[in-house]
Amino acid sequence: MKGLVFERNVARFAASRLASTLGGSGRGAGIGPLHLTDVEPPELPGPGWRRVRPLLAGICGSDLSTIDGRSSRYFEDIVSFPFVPGHEVVGTLEDDDSRVVIEPVLGCVARGITPRCAACAEGRTGGCERVAFGHLSPGLQIGFCRDTGGGWSTSGLVAHDAQLHLVPDALSDDDAVMVEPTACAVHAALTSGVEARHTVAVLGAGTLGLCTVAALAHLRAPSTLLVGAKYARQRRLAEELGADGAVEPDQLVRAVRRRSRSLEASGTLTGGADVVIDCVGSEDSLAQSLSMVRPRGRVVLVGMPGRVHVDLASLWHREVAITGAYAYGSEDVDGLLRRTFDVAMEVVASKALGRLVSARYPIDRFEEALAHAGEAGRRGAVKVVFDLRARERHRGTDPSTKGPVS
């Protein structure tokens, strides 16, 4: 059983950071703290836990940040080394071969903590206050916790019943692996305060950006949905998924200005978008978001930011709200409390988001896979995944797949 293991190793962190700086995101995989090794299946932590065999496991921007040595030190206390990455997972239950997607957040229920924290009690497991506590090692999600295993492994992972969602037959494996990022997008769309009369700008059109566009179009249908996307294929996909217009990132402020008929002062629109959703998470994207949100508007950070240096004078003066949108749990959908993953499955089905899976790699070609994911946009790709179905093929269930497929 092979798996990719991420270990705490300062020298390798530095090497990975240097390699990604010189060669691009994902290029440090071969020399960094990630290595392919024999991995034993994780122990079941307790009652209510199941073993899951991954079929497809996605590579996420947060994974790449971690591998590149660029993620914030904020996360140091809420992960535990060594861990097997991979939190975007569709797999089968070892018990009965049911196909499931994993809701990877390790909240109070999974951690055996009673009473549950306030967030978990409200169904907002993404906001769990106990991700570093309980009978499990710290880890905000499966894929960042040494006790649970992760999706980037043929040895499988363990997940609590509360984290499992059965996948309808109508969804393909490609669709299913998109459920987790789509759930993030659904959460962002439903908590960002977007209304039908709003002008919304989405900055960034990688996986999260495109899923956010899909979720907004499906769930909120704002009057105007504009997207800043770096690459032509991303712009095309954004429009297919429901954007009213997709332009290059440096054109987005002008597109918002035109739409809102704003003036400009001090490098900021006097009006602007009601809501800006930043799916990049960089210093530049945050500054750009602040420059095009209207007074008393809202900037929602969906892309994982780190340490940034941003002039907040306009935020203060224009009374702009800046909020994060992390993970999922339960959402208020038109007055009904629903699991985010259930809503996400609807969005995935409605928008056929399986099409965003651009390439599948076997685990032993992880360096290529991560390099591909690191430059996905430039190479016309969106979601790059590990294909762990080889074992299934040996069992005769899927003879056709050969990776990578772009």
Binding site: R254, R257, R258, L263
Partner: protein, 528 residues
């Protein structure tokens, strides 16, 4: 010795390479044997005594109008409007012809005891001129006498308090012009005529008008019905302006039109080779060409732009006429034709042209891709009388670097037009659906009124200017342009003239007839 007439050269084995403008630079291209190269007539001689000629024109106006001095009296309101920075091209060496004319008008007014005088730059929807540009056009003395006292205005087509609606033409066209000009006892308009499109009723009816008025003739329909807009008798653009001009006159606005012709002496000595016929280049011309070409290759774009925009043309006035608008303009147009017309027999399959660094709308600015299209397909394509130089379905090949670059202060709405409108359609008939939103965009209005920006609707006009050509030709190719920018325009990029000609043959067939419109100087083809 009188200037030589224009000339149509047929390229043979002994013909040297042909000079093409290429933005802030130039190229030598070897055209296929049998190609025609159209050379303009040489610049006509300048007036020996321009000030004397101006005084003579003011004293003996045309069209039954009394001498200017007899129209002036103490206590009257006098407005002097003048053409803006878009003329002449390049800007001429001082003293500018506007200065010469306005000085004489002011002197006459002073002699008559007129003290209510306002000068107005007739911008229409062009950008406001800078103080330096106004000083250059009017001279220090006039600028210093008027500007500090608030008597030097720039027409503001967006100030409702500065506009007056004079009525509708019999075609239902709004005529709304500058109130000060319309309500003055006398409006003197000082024009510079470089091409046949300029002047006449267009001076006041366009130069001092509002968007509400301009939209009646600055549109795709009008431009496709103007064959060409350089031939006022076959130009719907002019017909509309003439209707408006006559309504302005019928409304009681007294216009005293002063039009000037300049010769086509366009570039100073160090760039003289540009307007010489290549086989007549002297050793000095060749040396100047080589030296400047090499220097420009190593010069950053921005610096090259500064160098070229610092050029002051040695244009000289060749005639001046004053009086009633139509009588004056008839003479002016005759003079333009006398200087620029070249008889050409038969149309061509492929028309080539080298586009320079400047057009009417980027003086001291960047020639953005929209202006490249407008200069080639709006201006140069329309420099014909009779029939277009290129046949219907033919190909126009233009040489220009066409950078994806815009002056954000001068052309802010152009950027949005390029990014938004042309990304969706390049059909002039279809872009109209966006026009209103650009024309009324408060940001563009603000920049037009307070900065130095062209009006929000202006890029639409530039594209409408291309409408006739776009409807007529089968393909447009740009040699040496930024490929993305060229494609955004809806044209085809080519890396060399040879490639462009090869691409053209896909449209017009093998062995096409080729005609090159050589410039400078400007010429107008009289196509038989």
């Amino acid at each position: 010795m009188s200037p030589r007439p224009g000339f149509v050269l047929e390229v043979d084995r002994s013909t040297p390479s042909t000079l093409f403008w290429h933005g802030e630079g130039y190229r030598l291209e070897r055209l296929p044997l049998g190609s025609r190269v159209l050379y303009a007539p040489e610049p006509v001689d300048a007036l020996r005594d321009p000030v004397g000629a101006i005084r003579q024109a003011l004293d003996a106006p045309m069209g039954g109008v009394a001498p200017l001095r007899s129209l002036l009296r103490p206590g009257m309101a006098l407005t002097i409007a003048f053409d803006d920075v878009s003329l002449p091209l390049p800007p001429m060496r001082g003293p500018d012809v506007r200065q010469l004319v306005i000085e004489q008008v002011l002197e006459t007014a002073a002699e008559a005891g007129v003290d209510d005088v306002v000068l107005i730059a007739a911008l229409a929807l062009h950008r406001r001129m800078t103080d330096a540009e106004l000083r250059h056009a009017l001279g220090e003395r006039i600028f210093d006498a008027f500007a500090p006292h608030g008597l030097l205005w720039q027409h503001d087509a967006e100030d409702p308090d500065q506009l007056v609606h004079l009525g509708l033409t019999d075609e239902g066209e709004d005529v709304e012009i500058n109130k000060r000009a319309a309500t003055s006892d006398l409006l003197v308009y000082v024009n510079i005529n470089l091409v046949a499109m300029d002047g006449g009723h267009k001076s006041v009816a366009t130069g001092l008008a509002s968007y509400k008025s301009l939209r009646h003739h600055h549109n795709a329909h009008t431009m496709t019905q103007s064959r060409s807009f350089m031939d006022q008798h076959r130009s719907e653009l002019h017909s509309s302006n003439w209707r408006m001009g006559r309504l302005i006159a019928a409304s009681g606005v007294k216009v005293f039109q002063i039009e000037t012709n300049l010769n086509t002496d366009t570039f100073p000595e160090q760039f003289r080779f540009l307007q010489r016929r290549e086989w007549e280049w002297t050793a000095r011309d060749r040396a100047a060409f080589l030296a400047s070409s090499k220097a420009l290759e190593a010069t950053p774009d921005r610096l090259a732009r500064s160098i070229f925009h610092a050029i002051r043309a040695p244009h000289k006035m060749t005639s001046v006429q004053a009086g009633e608008v139509e009588a004056v303009h008839e003479r002016t147009t005759e003079n333009v034709y006398a200087q620029q017309l070249l008889e050409v027999h038969g149309q061509t399959d492929v028309l080539t042209m080298g586009l320079p660094y400047i057009c009417p709308y980027n003086v001291n600015s960047i020639m953005n891709p929209i202006l490249v299209a407008c200069l080639g397909l709006g201006y140069f394509f329309n420099m014909y009388r009779g029939r277009p130089l290129v046949r219907a379905g033919g190909v126009v090949i233009m040489s220009h670097p066409t950078p994806w670059a815009f002056h954000p202060g001068h052309h802010p709405s152009y950027i949005d037009f390029f990014e938004q409108v042309l990304a969706e359609t390049t059909n002039p008939a279809e872009i109209g659906k966006y026009e209103e939103s650009f024309a009324t965009d408060p940001w563009y209005v603000h920049l037009y009124r307070t900065g130095n920006a062209y009006h929000g609707v202006h890029p639409f006009y530039m594209w409408y200017w291309c409408a006739h050509a776009l409807e007529h030709v089968g393909s447009v190719i740009i040699v040496g342009g930024d490929r993305a920018a060229v494609r955004r325009l809806g044209f085809k990029p080519a890396s060399s003239m040879a490639d462009a000609l090869e691409m053209a043959s896909d449209v017009v067939g093998p062995d096409p007839s080729i005609t090159h419109l050589h410039s400078p100087p400007l010429l107008m083809a009289d196509v038989r």
